[in-house]
Symmetry: C2
Subunit: 433 residues, 2 copies
Amino acid sequence: MVDIKAFSGYEIVGGGVCAAKGFKANGVCCGLAHKPLNKTEENSAIANNALPENTKKKNDLAAIYCEKECAAAAVYTTNKVKGAPINVTKRNIENGYAKAVIVNSVNANCCNADGEEKAERMCEILASELNIDKRDVIVASTGVIGQVLPIEPIENAAKELCEGLTEDGNERACEAIMTTDTVKKQIAVRFKLGDRQVTLGGMLKGSGMIHPNMATTLTFITTDCDIAPEYLQRALSENVKITLNMASVDGDTSTNDMVCVLASGLAQNKKINSENEDYETFKNALYIVMLNLARMMARDGEGATKLIECICTGANDDETARKVAKSVVCSSLFKSAIFGEDANCGRIFCAVGYSGGDFEVSDLNVAMASKAGSIDVCKDGSVLEFDEEKAAKILAEEEINIHVSVGSGLFSATAWGCDLTYDYVRINGDYRS
Amino acid sequence: MVDIKAFSGYEIVGGGVCAAKGFKANGVCCGLAHKPLNKTEENSAIANNALPENTKKKNDLAAIYCEKECAAAAVYTTNKVKGAPINVTKRNIENGYAKAVIVNSVNANCCNADGEEKAERMCEILASELNIDKRDVIVASTGVIGQVLPIEPIENAAKELCEGLTEDGNERACEAIMTTDTVKKQIAVRFKLGDRQVTLGGMLKGSGMIHPNMATTLTFITTDCDIAPEYLQRALSENVKITLNMASVDGDTSTNDMVCVLASGLAQNKKINSENEDYETFKNALYIVMLNLARMMARDGEGATKLIECICTGANDDETARKVAKSVVCSSLFKSAIFGEDANCGRIFCAVGYSGGDFEVSDLNVAMASKAGSIDVCKDGSVLEFDEEKAAKILAEEEINIHVSVGSGLFSATAWGCDLTYDYVRINGDYRS
């Protein structure tokens, strides 16, 4: 986790997407993953200890709701092939406002001829149950691409989903958006704007098909801050660039990625309507939440056993710093070496070399670090002889930091990734079943 | 293997880099991989059936030699971090001519403070033994980056290396350039220019740190064709674009990649000095050899069990065709699915979508094929319901063809890759030991 002490004035709190005033959430199992067994079949299977893997119940449908109309902002995948919900959400929040979110896992509703119709229908189902306008609904889907989305399970579960919306429903919602994720990923912060207490929290699903190029995952953020849609969008877009867009699991930019924020205004702070000091304070809170979610996502990358953080410093321009940091965390060879806890620093050099950044090779310095210590492995463009035993201890930790200095410039950037493991291959060799 | 019938007038022959007139080759084990055991130690180890893995003898040093001065051309890695031999070779063939090649595996001689000095020394050692100018030597290294290259084993083996140069030494040389390769990769073709018989052959080492961005591997090609250096370079550069640069194993562009050609002129054809018909015939021969080597490389990618070939057709421009084909064979998610023989065509869509190519999603059609048949999986931008059993049979084969049609344009391109497997992770988790 990020050291929060660096951000004085911000307190980490529980509650995820329900932490901010006015937001309720829920998650249910509507049965998208499987044809649910009937009670007799289920009891028989449990008695025989033979419940098939795909009939185990996991929440697969979530909703977030705020009675008050919220300012809304979102950033979407740059993939040309887009999930149908992306287009529907774009239209729905064009006016800058929304009240609710509906999201399913298991099925991405992407590359289906009837995709938009189904995504629209999801909005209608939720709106009708909540008695709101269907244009006030944000819709999202994640899961297998190219399978027709069955709408009946969602229709059938809508009542249960909405009746169960509570101010502590974030855990159930967070479970519902998980696919190959192994842990729930949520965080919230509390801070002051003037004399008002403001809260901002979010949840995110990883963990495969994740690569820096806008958005990168499904991320839902809620806040009770009073902020105009224009500035909400600005704060979101700026933060995406340095958080989610700097995290990579496998280099594949998903079709369905989206990060959205709803701001209820219920904190009753002086409405943010310009890039003033309050805006900066709010933007920092959003940064803390998105930074932590990005790191959690990388750490929970499919099959991952380690988080890799690469910091590039000394660059002469922002682009070089970003390219270098991302290139290291994206290298399959380096990711495999980290899995093997092999201090193969030549692969860092290789990845830095093909990053496309602007620097002199003779200025390159590289260090590896973790809780267990730090070691210089390359200096002035050449690999140093280093203590392999010490390096092995450093790489045995779960969070590995790579520091690449490319010169004496003033720009720096940080990127997050994870190791490449047998489990990544296992998970993705047979994802659809 | 490519169906050679499509290229009438070209005959596949044996002999690799020794197939063309005037070329001798050799490969020896100079002991870069390990401190060789003395005879007593070795006998004892063999008697006890306890020869350690890293003392098994594998050739690690090769040479190619032609008494006659050859026209020479090369294409190098685009990685900013370059192996020291790259710089030395560039200088040595600046004049367009060379007579010999020296190449070692095990150690890449890259990111070492004394790298160029050592690469120069390798040229000197060979030149002195062959009694030629050291500026007539092409030098290359492949293996671990960032470890000082011990020069003594090369010095000590130079005599044996040169005395053993023979016209059938291509097998020994081909073994010497292998790193994690599991098979030797070599091929030669014979064809006519006027009434003269011309031969062109080559060898290549794969199989990791391979990604399309110039050259992509160590590849050595020899021919007895009489061709001016300028046209040799032109034919090489044009073919790299559509062969080696369209093959990817893991997305990492190596520091040491190089492909070079030596042309002895001993076939005594009318010297190629313009882009005439003979030039086209020669360029096609070079294409056949490089195409086959590129396919062999992808098929022998680290840990690979399958060759993936993606053909993109119907593009409105060359760049789109290339981008789409490469994006599919480079997708970690799709590569994993192919390993699992899972017909997850959504991942093809996803990779096509983020390729950066210029097309309409509604024009996308995708088919999967192999020796076992062919099946349409996507039409007009939507995934079709297809026969999973038939798809499974198709994907059970060792060579999988993906056909992506992006419209009705006239441009097409082909790319080659391999599946992502447990063994890729195993090999690269512990490459240095």
